[in-house]
Every structure is written in C-alpha cells, then in structure tokens.
Symmetry: C2
Subunit: 229 residues, 2 copies
DNA sequence: GCGACTTTGTTCAGGCGTTCACAAGCGGTT
DNA sequence: AACCGCTTGTGAACGCCTGAACAAAGTCGC
C-alpha cells in the first residue's frame, strides 16, 4: 500500500521541525553522523516521544536501534520545509526593528533573502541597509512585481499596517509576517503570523506576579484577611 | 460566597488579555466609553465567545445588555496583568536586534523599562543606546543587584545565551525573554519565553509550499503513480 | 410598570496537541 | 544462525483550548 503521505502536518509540528533542523545543522558542523531522538529532543527542548511523532509525519526516517542519520534527516527536513530555494522577502517599515531584521544573518542562512526594503520617511528612503537601498513605499507594487517576492514582513506603525497588508495581498503576496501590534484582516488563502513583542513581556510579568501573588490565593493562610470587598 | 478568584488563568488567555488591553487603550484614546464583546473581539482578531470566556476568568466585568466599560475593563486588565508599576529589565547583547529593542517605544508605554544594557564587544560598550550607556557584560550581576531588575532579555549569539541565562538566574532573575535560537535550560520556578524569528519565516514558507504542493498530495489523482521504492 | 431586545456569562461538545507505554525492527555479539 | 539490547514508530488515553448554543440579566421603549 504505497500511500505517500496522506496526513496533514500540524502547524505546531512545523514550527518544531524548523527547530530540529537548526539543531541538526549544529550537529553536522560538529561532525556527528548519528543522533538519537533523546539527544535531539533534549537539544531542542522538547519531549523525545513528541519529537518522534513530529518526525513520523514525514514518514519513517530513522533506523531502529541506531537513531537518525544527521545528514539524512537534515535533508528530509529541509525538503519538507520548502527546499533550499531562496525565498525573496520584502520588508516594509525600516525603523529600528526593520533595520535590525534587514541584516539579520539568521534569515539569509536559512534561505530567506530580503529583496526589497520600503519606507515612507523621506529621511530613510535612499539609505543603504544590509546591502539594499531603501525605496519609497509607493513603489511597493512595483518591487513585488519585479522581484517576485512571496513573503512580506511588516514592521510599520500599527496605523498603516492594514493598508500595507492589503497592498501586499493585492499584488499576490500570500505569506505575511506582522510585527505591528494590530490584528490584520486578510482574505482566505493568505497566511499571517504575528509576533508581538510587548505581549511576550506582559505574559512574563503576569507569570512573575502570579508566582509571588498566587501562593496566598491558592493556599490562603488567612481566609478572613483584609481582602476588602 | 466571596471566593475571590479560585481559577487559574491559561497562558494562552493571558497573552490575549494583553492584546485586549492594547485595543482598549486605543478605544479610550478615541473617547469611547463602552464596547461590546463583538466589537472588541473583531478588533483583537478573536472569536467573541472566546473573548467573553477570557474575560470571565477575571470575574464578571461587563454589564448585560450594554457591554463593557472601556476604562473599567482597562483598569481590571491592567491589574490582572501585573499592575502599572514599572518593570525594570536588563538586556544582554546589544547588536542590531538588541539596539532596536532597547528603544522600542512599545515597551516603555506598557511599563517595561530597560535599566541595564550589557555587551561583550568593547566597541559597543560605552555607547549610548536609547538613553542608556552600554556596560560590559562582566557587570551583569552588579547591574541586576543595583537596579533590582526582574526581567532579562537575551539577544546574544546562541553560543553564549545559556551562560548568560545561568548568570541571570543566579542573581534572582526569574523571567527571561530569549531571542537566541537555542533552548535554554532553567531550574523550576524560572519562566522563559522564546521568540524565534527564523522559525516564523520557515513556517510561512512551509504553508506557502503546502498551498501549492498539497492539492496533489491531499487528493492523489493517481494512486499507482511513480512513487518508486 | 411591563415587555421585549440586547448583550453578557456559562455550559457543553468537539478537535487538537501532548504524553505515556508498548510492539516492531535493526545491529552487534556469541 | 540465533539471541539480546537498543531505538524507532505508533496506538491510545489524558488534558487543554476553541467554538457554538443557551440561560440570566439589565436596559430601553411604551
């Protein structure tokens, strides 16, 4: 029964596959030829059984009693995640964060290349950032058309993020990474991932407060304490 | 029955509460006094029923038939997420990303203040970034002690992230936001949140490929195709 | 003052993701 | 050639979160 891969891969698994791939790259550099699921899982910070389940979505790719071939697994993961072909990206909003992303080495090494940087501020337009010249945002459609960019990264202020998003979608960009603190509305068939930095900090603050504050709540020493009202 | 709040709030809910809080701030600036769950949910990009469930963890805070008081709900959310008190943070690794975070306005407006910037590079140490002078990473323990920082943000290269993390934990920091592409190991009682930018892009790339590639996979036209082997 | 409409708060079912535990399979050894 | 230990792959249970339907409750209009 040669059913190739009828299963669908959960998005949470996909995210972890990317992590495994990075760990494998490190192991390959270290000259390792084989890894066990336990070692790989510990390096990636996940449960070994979960890791095996994640990998099983790609079909059997290990050898029982031995483990996984580092190079073999790396190739298979690379393939599953979209191959090695370079993915052209456009970045809109060249502020501090945008500039940092524009020449973040971690992207280029994984096949993501910025082919267009756009901003509204005349003081920013024309500057070189990460080997690329910033162009006025009016040229967004032209840049996407001439570079065939497939991914758009939005690091604009929140107020203009939706309009930038709409323009990206209108010229065929179907993958958007949004750093602006707003919920973008997109038609079906377009994927948006949101990274919200202050939310991350706020969750940490909550957990911190909970650590200090919930012991009294979970195990109230004095029920009749001054919890007025 | 004056049971205060026996329930525990799921982490996913906490993250959304932070989003609601930001939306409410915008509504308050716009002069709105009341909102319905539907409107708030649409602005936050979530389901109305889910929003009401999220808010119900804080106890009843709306008025049936009317909606939620913007200022009242904002105060209650602010309180639930840790109050308005300023949270001192230290940032280790003042590269491009670190610099961008150091003077990201979105943090300060939510009560997160960087009180220490640290780096190893002598060329970076001493520079002013976001109104603060970068200090050598050797002084990490001293900086945490004198500023009483409770949150550590790591934007170093992956290789040194774990050692920086260990040092933060050793001086009492129990909340860590990690941008380095490694899984940090911490003792129980310490919370780590990880932001992995290239994973986000890789997930987008996968979804993009899946959109184009899976139709043949999900609905195989020819089961007996050349799936040799 | 009463009724009807609106909106919240809650309860219920469904799906998804994670975890544990076991059987299958391969290499090395005797 | 057969056995033993090790590791993968998978099946099932558990728990969490999400999405929808219903009841309570308050307000506005008459």
């Amino acid at each position: 029964m040669p059913q190739s891969r009828p299963r669908i891969i959960p998005e949470a698994t996909v995210a972890r596959l990317a992590v495994y791939l990075r760990v494998l790259a490190g192991l390959a550099d270290g000259g390792r030829s084989h890894v066990s699921s336990g070692e790989l899982a510990s390096a990636a910070g996940v449960n070994p059984a979960g890791l095996r389940k994640d990998l099983s979505y790609l079909g059997p790719c290990g050898v029982r009693g031995v483990g996984y071939s580092v190079s073999g697994l790396r190739d298979r993961l690379t393939d599953a995640l979209g191959g090695e072909r370079s993915r052209p990206c456009v970045l809109i909003g060249i502020g501090r964060l945008g500039s940092a992303l524009a020449d973040y080495a971690g992207f280029a090494s994984r096949g993501f290349e910025f082919v267009g940087l756009l901003d509204t501020d005349p003081a920013t337009v024309g500057h070189r950032v990460g080997g690329l010249q910033v162009r006025p945002v009016q040229e967004l459609e032209a840049v996407v058309a001439e570079t065939h960019a497939t991914i758009g990264v939005i690091t604009t202020p929140a107020e203009v993020a939706q309009s930038v998003c709409d323009r990206l979608v209108s010229v065929g960009v179907r993958s958007i990474l949004n750093f602006a603190p707003v919920a973008l509305t997109v038609p079906a068939g377009v994927d948006v991932r949101k990274v919200d930095l202050s939310v991350e900090l706020q969750v940490l603050a909550f957990l911190d407060q909970q650590r200090d504050g919930t012991p009294p709540l979970l195990a109230p020493l004095r029920p009749a304490q001054g919890v007025a009202r």
